[in-house]
Structure formats: C-alpha cells, structure tokens
Symmetry: C2
Subunit: 173 residues, 2 copies
DNA sequence: ACCTGAACACCGTTCAAGT
DNA sequence: ACCTGAACACCGTTCAAGT
C-alpha cells in the first residue's frame, strides 16, 4: 500500500495519542510508516503543515448550528469542542498551533467568526472563546494525568460556566 | 566574569528578543556565552526551567493593586500585562509554557487567583483571563509583523474591551 | 565548585539519483 | 510520480575528567 497524505495523518494521529506530541517527529513518523524521512515531504510541505492538518481533523466532526440563537450556538460549539478534544492527548497545543499559523483553514473558527459577526459581537471574540476552551481543556487534561484519573468525556459544569461567562461578557458589551 | 543563572537569563532574553524563540537553544545560548553547552546545566535544571524563569522575569515588574476593587484590579493587571509583553517577541508562548508547567511559580497568577477567590469568582477565572490576554497579545503581535508595523505599546481599545468582557462574564456569574 | 570534552540519541529538511 | 540514500546543519542532556 502506497504512501499518501491520509495514511501519514492516520499514523501521526496514532503517534500523538499513544506517545504524545514530543514523540511525533517526522523521523519517527517515517520509521513507523517504514519509509525514508524524505518521503514524507512529497506529501506534506513540512511539519507545521502536518500539525495544521491534524488540528483540522480533530475539529472536523464538529457541527455548527447555523440557525440557533447566538448564545445557544456558542454553547453547543463549546460542548462539542470539549467532547472532541478532551480525550486526545495534547490536542489543545496542536489546535493552538493551527490557530496561530493558519486560522483561515479551521472551519470551526470561520463558523465561530461568522456567528460573532452576525451577532454584532467583536470578531476577535471567536478566537478568544476558542482559546478559552483550549486552556480549560488543557487544564482538565493535566489535572486528570496528575491525579491519575481520566479526563471527563463530558464537559464539566465549571467548563460550561467559564465559557458561557466569556460569551456573556461579549454579548453584553 | 563567571557564569551565573542571572547572566544566562540575560543572554537568553537578548537571544529571544533579537532572534526569536526558535533560535533560543541551549547550544546557541552556550556559544553566545562562550562556554560549553554542558556548563549551563550547572546553573539551570533544563531548558523548560530556563523558559519558566524567563517568563517570571517578563512578568516581574507588574504590580498588582491589592486594595482596589476587583474590576479595577483586573483592568490594571490586563493593562500592565499588555505593556510588559507586547514589545517582547514570542512572550505569549513563553508565558503560556510557564503557566502550563509551573503555574505556582508565577507571582502574577497567584495574585490574580487570590483576587478571584476574594471576589467569589471561580478560581480558574484567573487562568482563563491570563490566557485571554496572551492570545490577544499574540494576535496583535502577528498582526503587527504581518503588516510590517510595530505592535502598539499601549493596549488597544479592543484589547481592553475583550478582557473586560471576559472579566464581566465571570463577575456576573 | 565550576567547567570542558566528548559522547549519546536524537531532530527537520533538502536533493541528486534511482525506479 | 514517488521514493531512497545520504548528507547538512542542527538539537537537549549527561557525565567522567580536569582545574
């Protein structure tokens, strides 16, 4: 079976979840795929782009409710982001990298920005909200690993409270 | 003049501001100081700790008003964080690393947490607020570099608006 | 106590050459 | 078109040995 971007991303994802971001190197990825390191660069521009693709993948299943009220849409998005990312190791870091590097390539962020725009809320609220979700998720993950427990698969009440607090702040502005 | 942790941090800071985080390697730092790479490890545990110290340094000048109202204290903190970090390349990343690694060693965060506690605001509000500031500052810096201009030394109105929106969200909870 | 030399086990990326 | 081999220019960290 020949190499492909999809196959590379599959393996990258496995490597991330099983060994963590520090072990997700181009060389390690290549050896896992049993190809020479240089082969990867025929399918991916560089490591940063690979991580951006990975972030898009992690957020891809999220469905953004286009018809709901602004508050409801944001709540739903926050809920889905949590469910999608909480179980994936270092997911927050990976998404943060993608936001910093290629925000326009993240569908979720585009949808969030449109919603903010429609609701007359400052557009940067979208990024601020996403960043708030990411820091909370990261926090919950480190808490979970330090206590030896698993991160809650459902968003904890404190997460929902925090995010809706941030959203409320913008909506009231 | 002998090597010392302070001297290492001075040079690390210069390297960061002049060449960026990617060029701030232990080896580069050592060569800049004209010592062998291994010498650094007599003064600093490892690179992560060095970066944590650097973050503490960047936030050290910030004075947290202990007697002011909660809203005023947060506004003042947000203002000072912006002024302190906006001019320093990749400062947000460095601080973020420190928050994730050793939050208890950051005086600012401790002060913020105490204020939140006193005001009956959820304690994680402190981190959420700091993260919001960081993402905004990072955003302003990338905007500045992409347009070829300098990042505003004073916090823009949109920054103050965004942070106070987040704070308001928590205070109203 | 403080530092060097040298090693260990890695990186990301490029590119001529092969199939 | 797709991949290998080999190189280039690096990393962080450790540790016996020297002063």
């Amino acid at each position: 079976m020949a190499l492909s971007r999809e196959k590379i991303l599959d393996t990258a994802f496995t490597l991330l979840t099983q060994y963590g971001l520090a072990d997700l190197s181009m060389r390690r990825l290549a050896s896992e795929l049993e190809v020479a390191p240089g082969a990867l660069y025929y399918h991916v521009k560089n490591k940063q782009e690979l991580l951006t693709h990975l972030a898009s993948r992690m957020l891809a299943p999220i469905e953004f409710p286009q018809d709901a009220s602004t508050a409801a849409a944001l709540t739903s998005a926050a809920d889905q982001v949590y469910r999608q990312l909480a179980g994936i190791r270092e997911s927050a870091e990976v998404v943060r990298l993608a936001v910093a590097l290629h925000p326009e390539r993240l569908e979720l962020l585009s949808a969030l920005t449109i919603t903010c725009h429609k609701a007359q809320v400052p557009q940067l609220a979208a990024k601020t909200l996403l960043h708030s979700m990411l820091s909370f998720i990261e926090e919950e993950q480190t808490r979970a690993t330090s206590t030896g427990t698993e991160a809650a698969t459902q968003p904890p009440a404190s997460y929902c409270d925090a995010i809706s607090a941030v959203a409320r702040g913008f909506l009231a502005a």
